[in-house]
Structure formats: structure tokens, C-alpha cells
């Protein structure tokens, strides 16, 4: 047997033969899942989320607002002037929209004016965005459909047209709805205070008047998806149509990262990981067993490496049980309450779940290295928790910009691996954040190895 494999076997034997350590590993999963279940059970879902409606809506996107349309059977075109637009929100939208059907999240494209950001041509709920001129209402807009290609135009006078761009809309195979729309995002207010934040979205109602409408065919139909529903209104006065509606068509930065919500219990499980990792080292120092360990293996950095590998792997496995368990159970509980929950196949979800296990594993190795440097349980646990948890608590009480730097520069950046959506307070991308934690861990390991070999045992 090679030196490496027998050292791994020795450290694994140490880990598995102290019953309370195996209980602690199990507790990582139990605590994490338990906290998630408690949180989910205590979550009260208020308001209708349209949960029963069939939906293709991707996570963290909204597809609301008011829509008045004609049914197209093939290609077609619509022209209208946005005569006036209420300044309900800097990103309020008024313009022309083409969509495959009425379902939430259906394939769509739209050209619009906004109070503060000029003309935009968007598809995929804003994920594809082509900026036009900086003009606001009044503005002439035109939307042409040819197969799956949708082309947008704008004009100051209805004669001299300027092409904004064209987008390919996959899924636009058969007929389509082409019409006028208004939308207006929620006004988000965030109150940050120590220990948490409260975020409240206040609905705004967009309103715009359209005239000069030249559509191809058909009767006008109403497709109001306003949030809240009572805000949707349509008024016709001769050739002028006034539409009002609330809710946005596009990505939302104020939404909950629901994958991450189900993983909130990891913070508790993490405490167990830190305690276990620190004790895995300091218990040997406390009782002088480290002398036996180093007498058996005079190359001390090998002992450190074996400990790190064994503990990291064991924690990773426990972490997988914890993260998948918390996500699946949490999703089931919250889903049953009518919240739209992401599924395993959604963007970033697998990364967040496997990443959470990896996060716990790296934290274990980090704690192990700190414990090797300090040799004392209380000191090591305090230092690790200070570096990992306190930045997150303090951050909620600091101005956002300072909080973001804390979340980028401290080992707590590693928690970014749990993100599945970009939020207003996203400080660092998932992999970069995880990399920051790994860098801290690598440095701590290097210092630990150096001190092991330089100091008396």
C-alpha cells in the first residue's frame, strides 16, 4: 500500500471511530434540512402568484402588464404611436408586443418606449435587449413579424422610419398575438438592518395612450395580466386607446433566490462542520495523541494533507445529502404552498446544490488548517466563524456598497456559489466567490504546513 493511501486510511479510521464525530457529520445534514423544513413550514405565502396557470415563465422573470391584441395567423405588422406615457417607473414600458400566445412566459418580442431609458427592442423577457434612440413618448413604433424574425422600427413622425433591430424568436411557429402593451415594474424598497433585511415591492401602474394604430386584421382582444389584477384598464376614445397595467415584462432583480432560500439551513450545518474540523485536529493536540501521529509519520505535511482530504471528502458527502435534501424537501413544502419553485434542471440550481456541498468541504479544510495553526479549539472556532459568518451578519447592517466589498474580500465570499439568480445585492459571481474562499484555504494550508514542520510537535 502506498504511503498516501495508508495515511488516508489512517485518518479515515480516526474519523470514523469516534462515534460523536460521525453523529456530527450526520447532524450537518439533519440540521441543514431541519432548518429548511422549519423555515418552509413557517413561510406564509400571501397574494396570488397565478400558481395554477400553465406557465413557461423562467425563474425570476415577470411577464405581466396589460396587453390588447389581434390574433395573427401568419406574418403581419403593427404600427402605433405612443402618444403619452405616465412616469410610473423609470423602466415603465409602453409599446408593441408580439407573443406566441397568452401563457406566462410565452415566446415574445416587443418594442417599447420608457420614461428614462429611451426605446428598446426586447425578446426573451428582456434577456435580449437592443437599445434604440433615447427618445420617449410621443414616439411612433412598428413591429413586423416574418416567420420567427421580428423587426422593430421607430419614428418621430410616422413617415421617416428607423430600424432599431431584429430578433429571432424561437417557438414562434404558428399564429401569434400582436398588439399594444403597457408594463411597469414594482418600486422596490429595501430596509437593511442588523440581522436581516426586509424587502417590499410596491406595485406601480403604467399608463399610456396609443393612437395612429394600423394593424393587419382581426378583432381586438384583451390579454390583461396586470399585477395586481385590479390595475388593468382599457379605455377607447375614437382612434385613441388608453391602456393601464401593473407588473413588468422582464427580469426582476428584487426576486427571492428560492434555491438559496431552501439552502438557508446550511449556515447552521456549517457550524457543525467547523466544530468537527477543528476538533479533528485539536483533540489530538489536547491529549498528546499528535505525538503518536507524528512519530508514525515524521513528514507532518503529509498528515495535514491526508486529514484535509479525508475530512473534505466526508464533509462533501454529508453536504450533498444536506443540500439536495434541503432543496428537495424545501421545494416540495414551498411548492405545496403555491410558490413557483425552481427545479433541478434550472440554470444554476445544480451548481448551487453541489456547490453548497463543496462549500462545506472547503470550509472544513479551512477550519482544519486554522486549527493546525492555532492548536486550540476555542480560538480556532472563533476565528473561523468570525471570518465566515460575521461578515454576513454585519453586512446586513452596512451600506450596500460596503457590504458588497465585505462579501467579496472575506472567506464568506464562498457563499456566492449558492446564487442562482443575479440580485440587486449580488456582490460577486458564484465561481469567483468560491475561488476567494479556496484562496483563503490554500493560504491557510500553506501556513499550517510550514508551522507544523518548523515548530516542535
Amino acid at each position: 500500500m502506498s504511503v498516501v493511501s495508508r495515511l488516508l486510511l489512517a485518518e479515515w479510521t480516526k474519523l470514523r471511530t469516534v462515534p460523536r464525530w460521525m453523529f456530527t457529520l450526520a447532524a450537518v445534514a439533519v440540521l441543514t434540512i431541519g432548518v429548511t423544513v422549519l423555515t418552509a413550514a413557517g413561510t406564509i405565502v400571501s397574494g396570488g402568484g397565478g400558481g395554477d396557470e400553465p406557465s413557461d415563465l423562467p425563474a425570476n422573470h415577470q411577464d405581466a402588464g396589460n396587453f390588447r391584441y389581434q390574433r395573427l395567423t401568419g406574418d403581419g405588422s403593427l404600427v402605433a404611436r405612443v402618444a403619452t406615457q405616465a412616469d410610473s417607473h423609470q423602466w415603465a414600458k409602453a409599446g408593441l408586443m408580439l407573443r406566441a400566445d397568452e401563457r406566462h412566459g410565452a415566446a415574445s418580442a416587443a418594442i417599447m418606449v420608457t420614461p428614462d431609458h429611451g426605446v428598446h427592442l426586447q425578446s426573451r423577457l428582456g434577456d435580449t435587449d437592443i437599445a434604440g434612440s433615447a427618445a420617449g413618448a410621443p414616439r411612433w413604433l412598428r413591429l413586423d413579424r416574418s416567420g420567427t424574425t421580428v423587426t422593430g422600427y421607430e419614428s418621430a413622425d410616422g413617415h421617416d422610419w428607423h430600424r432599431v433591430g431584429a430578433v429571432e424568436v424561437a417557438g414562434l411557429t404558428g399564429g401569434a398575438d400582436l398588439g399594444l402593451f403597457v408594463a411597469s415594474p414594482d418600486e422596490v424598497r429595501i430596509d437593511r438592518q442588523f440581522g436581516g433585511e426586509s424587502m417590499t415591492g410596491h406595485p406601480t401602474t403604467g399608463e399610456a395612450t396609443f393612437d395612429g394604430i394600423r394593424g393587419d386584421a382581426g378583432a381586438w382582444q384583451d390579454g390583461d395580466r396586470s399585477m395586481p389584477p385590479e390595475e388593468g384598464r382599457v379605455a377607447e376614445d375614437g382612434d385613441t386607446v388608453t391602456l393601464a397595467g401593473g407588473g413588468d415584462v422582464g427580469p426582476t432583480l428584487d426576486v427571492e433566490d428560492r434555491t438559496r432560500t431552501t439552502l438557508a439551513g446550511v449556515l447552521i450545518g456549517l457550524m457543525a462542520v467547523v466544530a468537527l474540523a477543528v476538533l479533528f485536529v485539536t483533540a489530538e493536540y489536547k491529549r498528546g495523541m499528535i505525538l503518536t501521529t507524528f512519530a508514525a509519520t515524521p513528514r507532518r505535511e503529509r498528515v495535514l494533507a491526508a486529514k484535509a482530504l479525508v475530512l473534505g471528502s466526508a464533509t462533501f458527502v454529508a453536504g450533498l445529502v444536506a443540500s439536495f435534501g434541503a432543496f428537495l424537501l424545501g421545494s416540495a413544502l414551498l411548492g405545496a404552498k403555491g410558490l413557483a419553485m425552481p427545479s433541478l434542471g434550472d440554470a444554476g440550481v445544480l451548481r448551487a446544490l453541489v456547490g453548497t456541498a463543496a462549500l462545506l468541504a472547503v470550509v472544513a479544510v479551512f477550519s482544519l488548517a486554522v486549527a493546525t495553526i492555532l492548536r486550540r479549539s476555542a480560538a480556532a472556532i472563533t476565528v473561523v466563524l468570525l471570518l465566515l459568518i460575521v461578515p454576513q451578519i454585519i453586512a446586513t447592517g452596512l451600506p450596500l456598497s460596503v457590504a458588497m466589498w465585505l462579501s467579496r474580500l472575506t472567506p464568506a465570499a464562498g457563499f456566492a456559489i449558492q446564487e442562482t439568480v443575479e440580485r440587486y445585492d449580488t456582490a460577486i459571481s458564484p465561481w469567483a466567490g468560491f475561488g476567494v474562499l479556496c484562496a483563503y484555504t490554500a493560504v491557510a494550508l500553506a501556513v499550517a504546513a510550514r508551522r507544523l514542520n518548523r515548530r516542535d510537535a
Partner: protein, 304 residues
């Protein structure tokens, strides 16, 4: 590998405290070497340096002619028990030996063999934290024996044992030496080594005080003293002092005489008509020999 430990000019200080100060000695194979000195004399430090756990400031410690860290498989070359309680209390005795066997690349059957050897086979699965001091010593000894090494070191193995345990350890040490191993046993009580050590290395304040065979040491400590038992103590002392001997009253009916052989004492007393009822050559105990040695060391230390 040659079964020896060589310590050469070893110096080690911790902060301001000099623990070992120019210590040199050799432990040979086939005998039990007692490593004796008061608490704090530097015994444990020396053992730690031999095991490569602490780095000496100068000098060297070689096992079989090599520094410890150059041994290819240390557990097969040197077995050591430094602290009888150096295990996790929640881990079973067998599992404690199991991880050590894995770390040393030793066969798992050795674990059961040494458990049998030290008499812990029946409690092998019990958590070591619940062991009595005697059982802990046995577990520590089992760990040292695991690699079947030619060199063995035990730090205070007799400490806190009951008489039966002490007898067992003496027998074990003798048996290990008889197998040709080099056995180093430290103790702060010379009496604990009585009947097991062949050779003694005595240290005080980190320095060598004596490095001699036990037989020689006892002879030197016994000196040429003779114990005389008489009811006429004063007459006897006067007669012997006049004849040139050094006398001391050591009990109500006992006089210790030195500087005069027993037959001459009998002659002098018979000539002077002083009766006595006993005369014996004095046989020093190891403890006495040790007290004498360390008393000198203490005085030396205080004078310097």
C-alpha cells in the same frame, strides 16, 4: 537495523528554560536502560528529540545510527509510549491501534496480537476513555509494540500502577531485552526500576550525572560501610574511632562504620572487650544510590 539509541551533546531550550544541556549517552541492545532523574530533569524532552518530535538546538539523537526522520518506516524501527493517555477517549482501544497500524503500514493482525500480549483483548472494543490507569498504560505499551521494533522507549510506564501491574511491566521489560531489543525506560523514582534495569542513565537539570551498570552503581553506593549492632554503642564508637575508623550512630543499638574492614572491627572490639550481637556489610538499595547521586547534583547545581 542496529538496536541502539545514541544521544550526542544534546542541547534543547524552551524559551529561557534549558531542558537538556549537553547530554550524551548510549542505549545498547539486549538490556533495559533506566533513564532516571527528578521531574523536570529533561527526560521527556530527550525522548521527544529522539522521536523527531522536537528539534534540538544542537547535538543529535540517532536511532540505529540514523536521525529519526530518516527512518524509512519508523514504527517498525522504534516503538514509544510517551503519554499513557494519548488517545481519544471516545475511540475504542482496538480502533486506536488500528489507525496507528494503517499509518505505519502494518498488518491489521498485529493489532490483535499486541492486544493479546498486553492483556486487553477482552476489552478491545471498549472506549479507551473508560480505562483505568493500568489499562491505559497497557494500551500505550501495545501501541509501542505494534511494529515489533528492535528499539523501545517507555516514559514512566510504572507510574500509578498497582503492585501486580508493576510486576507485569518488569517481566515484560526483561523479556523484551532478553529478545535482544534496546529498551529505554524513564522514571523519576529509582525504586520503580529496581529489579528490571541493567543499566542506568541518571540525569539532573538536563545534564548527565551517571551512566553506569546497575551492579557497579550499587557497589559504589554501598561503599565499605559496615553496620554494627551492639548494646554498648558508646564504648564501641570510642574504641573504633581511636583505631582510626569513621563512625556514626544510626540507631539506638546501631553504629555504621566506614574506613575499616569487618574483620578488623571484630579484632578491635574483641581486644577492647566491647560485646556486640551483629555485624553486617551494608547493601545499599538503588534508591539510596540514586539519592546520593542526585543530592550531589542538587548541591552542585546550587553551588554553581
Amino acid at each position: 537495523m542496529e538496536a541502539t539509541i545514541e544521544v550526542r551533546e544534546l542541547r534543547k531550550r524552551y524559551g529561557d528554560t534549558v531542558a537538556v544541556d549537553g547530554l550524551s549517552f548510549t542505549v545498547h541492545s539486549g538490556q533495559v536502560t533506566g533513564f532516571v532523574g527528578p521531574n523536570g530533569a529533561g527526560k521527556s524532552t530527550t525522548l521527544r528529540v529522539i522521536l523527531g518530535l522536537d528539534r534540538p538546538d544542537s547535538g543529535s539523537a540517532l536511532v540505529g545510527g540514523r536521525p529519526y526522520h530518516q527512518l524509512r518506516n519508523p514504527l517498525r524501527d522504534v516503538g514509544a509510549m510517551l503519554d499513557a493517555s494519548a488517545f481519544h477517549p471516545a475511540r475504542g482501544a482496538r480502533n486506536h491501534l488500528l489507525w496507528l497500524a494503517h499509518a505505519g503500514g502494518l498488518a491489521v493482525r498485529r493489532v490483535d496480537e499486541v492486544l493479546e500480549q498486553v492483556g486487553l483483548a477482552s476489552v478491545a472494543r471498549r472506549a479507551a476513555g473508560g480505562f483505568s490507569l493500568g489499562m491505559r498504560q497497557r494500551l500505550g505499551i501495545a501501541a509501542a509494540l505494534l511494529g515489533d521494533p528492535p528499539v523501545l522507549m517507555f516514559d514512566e510506564p510504572v507510574n500509578g500502577l498497582d503492585p501486580e501491574g508493576v510486576r507485569w511491566i518488569r517481566g515484560l521489560l526483561r523479556a523484551l531485552a532478553a529478545e535482544g531489543r534496546a529498551v529505554l525506560v524513564s522514571s523519576h523514582l529509582m525504586s520503580e526500576l529496581e529489579g528490571s534495569a541493567d543499566h542506568l542513565v541518571v540525569i539532573g537539570r538536563g545534564r548527565l550525572i551517571a551512566d553506569r551498570a546497575v551492579r557497579e552503581l550499587l557497589a559504589a553506593a554501598s561503599g565499605d560501610r559496615v553496620v554494627l549492632r551492639t548494646t554498648h554503642r558508646l564504648d564501641a564508637m570510642t574504641a573504633l574511632a581511636n583505631a582510626g575508623a569513621t563512625v556514626a550512630a544510626t540507631d539506638a543499638e546501631e553504629v555504621t562504620v566506614s574506613g575499616m574492614p569487618a574483620e578488623r572491627i571484630v579484632e578491635v572490639l574483641t581486644a577492647q572487650g566491647v560485646s556486640f550481637f551483629g555485624i553486617t556489610g551494608h547493601q545499599a538499595s538503588l534508591e539510596e544510590a540514586y539519592m546520593e547521586l542526585t543530592r550531589d547534583a542538587v548541591e552542585f547545581g546550587e553551588a554553581s
